[in-house]
Amino acid sequence: MQMSGAQMVCEALIIEGVQTVFGYPGGAIMNIYDEIYKQDSFEHILNRHEQASVHAADGYARATGKVGVAMVTSGPGFTNAITGLATAYMDSIPMVVISGQVPLSLIGTDGFQEVDAVGISRPCTKHNYLVSDLADLPRIMKEAFHIAKTGRAGPVLVDIPKDITAEFGNFIYPKDVNIPTYKPKYKGNERQIKKASEAIKKAKKPLLYIGGGVVLSNASELVRELADFGQIPTVETLMARGVMGAKNPLLLGMLGMHGNYASNMAMSETDLVISLGARFDDRVTGKLSEFAKYADVIHVDIDPANIGKLVNVDYPIVGDITLVVEKLIEQLKDDINPDNYKSWREVLNRYDNLHPQSYNDSDEVIKPQWAIERIGELVGEDAIITSDVGQHQMWAAQHYPFDRPRQWINSGGLGTMGFGFPAALGAKKGCPDKIVINITGDGSILMNVQELVTASEYKIPVINIILNNHFLGMVRQWQTFFYDKRYSETDLSYQPNFKALAESCGGIGYDVTTKEEFDEALKDAIEKDIVCFINVAVDRFENVLPMVPSGGALYNMLLDHKE
């Protein structure tokens, strides 16, 4: 069929089953926006900043498992999208971003709004394309979606010059993808899997170390099964919260810098780490030479480059978690005695009783941890929780009772403040039946606060709970601990009127200072079903504990901070 390049882009999106596109128009991408105007197969959400468009597409992908799609214009539109690309790249999120580019004839001339999009985005995309011939466009669109969601998922950028979108050509959308140089490996090596299962049988103190890859591979059920019949103690990374379910007795908690005592001690004493889709991030391992010092390591990962990158691995298995765990279960099912690890479980239970995840509640002021627990009590399983970056993020990860994968959405790898609100918009578009709550800080929320307008216009009722400590709290905490309380540029006493700010954009605002008000506000917000800010005054100087100081060993935790 003859059609313009712009039409081809829309057709491709429709064939790929895209229902929602987040974006922002501009000169170089106007032809595509003209076609968007003419069609009604998919919805376009006009965010009020390109960074928010990309985070929204990202949140949509994390909540649904589908490929998120965002669209931006050339130059500044594209550079605004970069933080979103890098955020998705670090957390392996399937996403396609389409950017307009100046016409081919102007590329390289420093034309108006020209920037080298493929050059800039190369290190923070899984792959990228500059379309230089209309004939390539259908194939490139097909490949972009394929690459984004297969293997280790990630964002793909398609940069399309304006003249290509205007040109007419024949549109045949390829049925299959044939990239001879790209063949991700899914099935783990059988011999390695067998060896690994033997190691599990022999181990006295095995530990399942669960990462975000389990969520991405939709393998949570299987992993629960594996843990369950072996009765193997389990720790989760920040990205894996929800995989095991908060009530699971085999779950010790989160490990790492703000992990709980039992989890970090388990990692320090285990004799066999079974790593599933985790990547030994420095926020998890602490001092590498002390990490899992007494253990052999089984490492299952879809990305061979992750294996052996930081720690030495005894049983490397490249493959998709789902397929590998299926095989592991087959190997172990009738052949593992849960009693083997009984004394190990008892040791870990003692650790947990010694220093459980806790905090000192107060009657005078709302403790941020209390607020998180309270949200959990009020909405629990029904909600999807997104977050920004800082103390509130860690408290949410520590204290929210996550019960299922994809319930917890946060920027783990890049740690992007400003992620939470737009990601919540995307999650709500993808899962309209869920309550979506962004747990945020008074610093982070301002980094994409313009999305109040988007949320109002499109009636996307996201609840933003601002744990307001009038500080860039996480940085303030480090200044308290390690910089002798020199609070350089972290005091946020000067604030907007958050209630009025939300209301000026068509949302609702609540100012909360007591527990009663907190309950009322949250219940009211759920009932009203309009975008809102719940501005919660919390204890200003509360710290996230326990804490493994940066670069320290996991077993050296600060459990308490006394003034």
Binding site: V118, G119, R122, P123, S132, I179, T181, P304, A305, G308
Partner: protein, 156 residues
């Protein structure tokens, strides 16, 4: 950890920006490039990139894995048993002792390839160590310019 020198061949799709992907990976992840050559593979849509690098075994392993991860990469060969050659062009003033220069080049399997009004150009293609020795030896004839071609290698 001890550093090792390694010659790596990367077979990639011959498409725009593929070299930028490869060199960008080295720059972005802090890997060394001692030399890099690239040319199309005859009668194919592929290019052959030869990289000489150094680093600890762990780093070298990451380099090959990261190179493999690039979408246009077909194959990465970490050379072990190989024939390795490098070419060098050296320009001398015409008043240098030409028969001495000719003899020196012959000793390194090379020769004079061009003679102009005021200069003579020689070429040598040999193992990288020998090329280095050759360049050392040319010094006494006051070379005007030395251009090295970078290493190419083929597995035996």
């Amino acid at each position: 950890m001890q550093k090792v020198r390694r010659v790596i061949s990367v077979i990639v799709m011959n498409e725009s920006s593929v070299l930028a992907r490869v060199s960008g990976l080295f720059a972005g992840r802090g890997y060394n490039i001692e030399s890099l050559t690239v040319a199309p593979i005859p009668e194919s849509q592929l290019s052959h990139i030869t990289i000489v690098t150094n680093g600890s075994e762990k780093v070298i392993e990451q380099i090959t894995k990261q190179l493999n991860k690039l979408i246009p990469t077909l194959k990465v060969i970490e050379h072990e048993e190989m024939v390795e050659k490098e070419m060098v062009l050296v320009k001398f003033p015409i008043d240098a002792n030409l028969s001495d220069i000719q003899a020196l080049c012959s000793a390194y399997n090379g020769g004079i390839v061009n003679v102009g009004l005021d200069m003579v150009i020689t070429m040598v293609a040999d193992e990288p160590v020998r090329v280095k020795n050759f360049i050392e030896a040319t010094k006494r004839y006051n070379p005007i310019e030395i251009v090295r071609g970078g290493v190419v290698a083929i597995e035996r």
